[in-house]
Subunit: 263 residues, 2 copies
Amino acid sequence: MMMKTLVALLLVATIAATAHASGEEEYEIFPLQLNSGAASEDATLQGITCSSWRLAVEVHNIIEWSTVPAECENYIGHYMQIPKYRQDSKAVNREAYLWVRTVPLPRDGRNIWIFDIGETTLSNLPYYSQNGFGVHKFNSTLFDAWVEKGVAPVLPETLKLYNKLLNLGIKIVFLTGRTVSQTDVTVENLKRAGYHTWEKLILKDPKEYSGKTALEYKSAERVKLEKQGYRIIGNTGDQWSDILGPAAGRRTFKVPNPMYYIS
Amino acid sequence: MMMKTLVALLLVATIAATAHASGEEEYEIFPLQLNSGAASEDATLQGITCSSWRLAVEVHNIIEWSTVPAECENYIGHYMQIPKYRQDSKAVNREAYLWVRTVPLPRDGRNIWIFDIGETTLSNLPYYSQNGFGVHKFNSTLFDAWVEKGVAPVLPETLKLYNKLLNLGIKIVFLTGRTVSQTDVTVENLKRAGYHTWEKLILKDPKEYSGKTALEYKSAERVKLEKQGYRIIGNTGDQWSDILGPAAGRRTFKVPNPMYYIS
């Protein structure tokens, strides 16, 4: 079992290195230094297996949860590191492309695709691998310090879709819960990860959206985009709050994330 | 591998027999007679594994698909027969109960919970196990002949939730795509499976809903229920068309079904 995990880890490291073809330097955090997450067994919490918990989370049956159940730390850690997480992401991004290439698009420059950032275009896995894979209560100070390093690795299956969308003439809008004060580091991180162009990068203004949920913030920003004349063709996020609500997009896509939940 | 599958099959047969505690006779179709579905390997279709395909289907990323990819017949067949399918169903139904028992309910007799029937309260697995687990194109003649036998087995995790809801004083409404001509056999089948009481059993009137999707039919019937004064607390289905649209319910729950898709 340990051997298998080691192989998987090396594999992840290889994938990360390969995907980051354009960068000069290696991300310091790959391969992951693990405090946990090395076991693959499907533990059980009160009669529910962790794999069934994960499915119920992805399908939005289990909602508004605050942390990954402690029993599932190793299971979730393992899932995030083996090829399965990437395969699950690939299935979603591939479906998005199979669909969008069949959609007749007016050639008026108004077609956009919205991407969330964390766990959608960039991975916070190096941070979460040091923090219990979502088992620990969210610590905004620690997390912001990680974000401000600007070294979040690319999620390569999303980057593939991004490039294909650009080739189809669809413009990219990043819509993130990161705050406006993190604009520079986000721009830098996106470019380092291989996202070199976009129509808009929308970060959260904490004053404008004080006390609002992510769902409210993102919906309001999408409505603004439509009022500006944009046509939201597709919308990809790792959270249901990215893809529910008004002006969600002609089709929405949820990439996997069993580590945290944002309302 | 064959031995493992055999053990799994015996397990399914045992579960079915145990769950159907109140019936005098065994369902003729358990244990399943298999034409396929005995292999557990996670095959690949065009770079996507069948387990990633199944996740994308459950999350509603892959939509409007007509049949299970042929490459995935064995994978899906295996999934449906091992405890995992039941565990996934349990996680959803348990979450529904954990939530609903915290909801303050006016004691006015107007609280209802909507259940779909096929793959939600009763299982068509004996039929699908003989028909490629969703790989074959849907054949309404053959399927109706199966429904009219009236022997679809219980889905035991849903029955547990059903009984708990009744104990909480919530009334049950079954809302199904089965047609009104199948009323008698449906009543008989529900009772044989352990569902002994309900407020309403709504079957589809093919004249009223000619040319309408399941989503339109079910939404329209739910709106009628609310106009009649009912309060839809929860709504459980195996299809997204059961739980999207107006008057969906205060919370919705999707139980797994990787065998077919209904718009």
